[in-house]
């Protein structure tokens, strides 16, 4: 104890890099955004006037904000559930692989190393209406594919790209979770007369619930924020705002449209929303989690 009390400066010096990063890249912009959301800037950025809650009421009553909110809901639910379901399926299969399992697992983890923007471009090429490999395959199946014109298809494209990337992250956690379940539990269940399907739902799945809950929170946050790059490089929110999510609208209004006050209000709302969602998840979903 006394050793630490004597060194008053050293701890701060050691923590400084972390603290500076958090202060500069989180607290400063967050506080600036919060302040800005109460002001209206003039067209040339030379002055601003206090506007109270006007920015918020304008944002909340606009039609395009409601659309973005709806898009975000569709997008986030699809990405979180899709990425988790596919990852769980792949992890369950990878868990049973005995030969060359290491190589197999490494390959499944790779997509996570790809930047979101690059992941988006990758899928954009594969699903390009004129050049894409997958587009041709879809055409052969009788599906007319053109995400540049069809809003639903554009949404599908960004969802697929986001799922493909996030799946790897989920895979790592699910695989670790599966390997933490003692083999004897599943053997006991086998002897107790449970088939593979029933074993999965009554033993494996409940025992994975802490992992699943953690991933649900992480995937929601990912879908809300980190998919910006994916959307920007592929559809840029189009066509006609069909893939404009909250975080993308915020960028368009603030950086492109230069409505700093309105975009600041949106970012404050987004932060509140994600905070609230996480809180709800902890409050209601976590109750059903089996920690053991």
């Amino acid at each position: 104890m006394s050793t630490f009390q004597r060194h008053r400066v050293t701890p701060w010096v050691l923590m400084a890099p972390q603290l500076i990063i958090v202060l500069v890249f989180f607290f400063w912009p967050a506080i600036t955004a919060l302040r800005q959301s109460f002001y209206v800037q003039d067209a040339f950025g030379l002055g601003e006037t206090f506007a109270g809650l006007a920015n918020f009421t304008r944002v909340l009553s606009s039609q395009s904000y409601h659309e973005a909110l709806f898009n975000t809901a569709i997008f986030s639910v699809s990405v979180a559930l899709g990425a988790m379901a596919i990852a769980l399926l792949l992890a369950t299969m990878a868990d049973r692989v005995l030969r060359a399992s290491r190589a197999y697992r490494t390959l499944l983890i790779w997509p996570y190393a790809v930047a979101p923007a690059a992941a988006g471009v990758l899928w954009m090429f594969m699903l390009d209406p004129t050049l894409g490999v997958l587009s041709r395959a879809l055409e052969a199946l009788g599906v007319h594919w053109d995400y540049r014109l069809n809003g639903h298809q554009a949404m599908a494209l960004v969802i697929i790209a986001a799922i493909w990337q996030q799946m790897s992250y989920n895979f790592v956690f699910f695989l670790a979770g599966l390997q933490g379940i003692p083999a004897s539990l599943l053997e006991a269940a086998t002897i107790d007369g449970a088939g593979p399907w029933r074993r999965f739902w009554t033993i494996t799945f409940p025992l994975l619930s802490p992992t699943s809950f953690f991933l649900l929170v992480m995937n929601t946050i990912y879908a809300f924020f980190e998919t910006f790059g994916t959307i920007d490089t592929t559809t840029s929110g189009g066509p006609g705002g069909a893939t404009r999510t909250l975080v993308y609208k915020l960028y368009q209004d603030g950086i492109v449209g230069l409505d700093l006050g309105g975009s600041a209000a949106q970012s404050v709302l987004l932060m509140l929303m994600v905070g609230l969602l996480t809180l709800v998840q902890f409050r209601y979903v976590e109750r059903r989690v089996q920690y053991h």
């Binding site: 053997e187 006991a188 086998t190 107790d192 449970a194 619930s209």
Partner: protein, 364 residues
Amino acid sequence: MARLELRRLQKRYAGGANVLHDIELSINDGEMIVVVGPSGCGKSTLLRMVAGLESISSGELFIDGDCVNGQEPAERDIAMVFQNYALYPHMSVFDNLAYSLKNRGTPKDEIARRVDETSRLLGIASLLDRKPRQLSGGQRQRVAMGRAVIREPRVFLFDEPLSNLDASLRVQMRQEIRALQQRLNITSLYVTHDQTEAMTMADRLVVMNAGRIEQIGTPMALFRKPATRFVAGFIGSPAMNFLTLAINALPGWLTKVPAETTEPLKGELSVGIRPEHIMLTSSGSGHMDARIELVEPLGSESLVHVRPNGHETRLVVRHAGTELPTAGQLTGLNLQGPFHLFDRHGQRLATRPRLADTTCPMES
């Protein structure tokens, strides 16, 4: 209840390792067979093959006359108690017990009745709402037993179920398991590495070594007449002592000699003497003299480790007196029968008594 028949069972792994060789064993209705052997001898693999958790490479396994080689574990109607209990951590004790019944579509009221009955039989009726992590080691053990009992299976399999318990609880649970098995009269296969557990619980004992069965018999038969040197050394605590002797110069204290066989005996043989059959006496007055190296007092008796003059091996003597000899002293040893004679391959030799005035035929 059921009869279990193992015919020339073999287990080979891809890559060539042959872990079980021609296991032949038949288990009678209601019998408790304990398989004992050092770790890595294949006893757990054997149990898992009977359970259906490991495939059978060759040979046949019969339950009540039906070959079950191709059957799934659930179809074989067996129950298994695992070393780590394998209780489902997210289920209450009730659900743990009820799981196998639910899987088989047993009606709800029937499940409730059987859980109630089983939990009372095992003294865990007050714990039904608890989760496994809220139970002590002994209670978990009982729940694991209950999960096996509740289905009234044809065969019970135990995979070292007591090795995670502390010593006093182990003794208690050992008695409880045995009592329960006898009361329910369920055919059982019990695997352990602990020879005391094996001796006390078994109707018949199977000693395994390096993937082979060394000997099958009642605990006392194996103790009195071990078929191989390995069994002799494995059964009984402290372990049997062995002295290597040249066949053409057998000492006078050996009251038995190898029976005459068609094949002439040459070289050396091994004489096994249990620690309780060696007496300490004053130096010079016994069959041989020895130096006392270590004394381990156990209360009612002591274990005295001695090194006989002219021998490389150390012997253990069970010394009943309360007066302890001191290490470093010279002592005499009186060697009394029964002696167990083994050839250089470790096989038991047939013997005949040696008359006081005749010498061993090989001695001349």
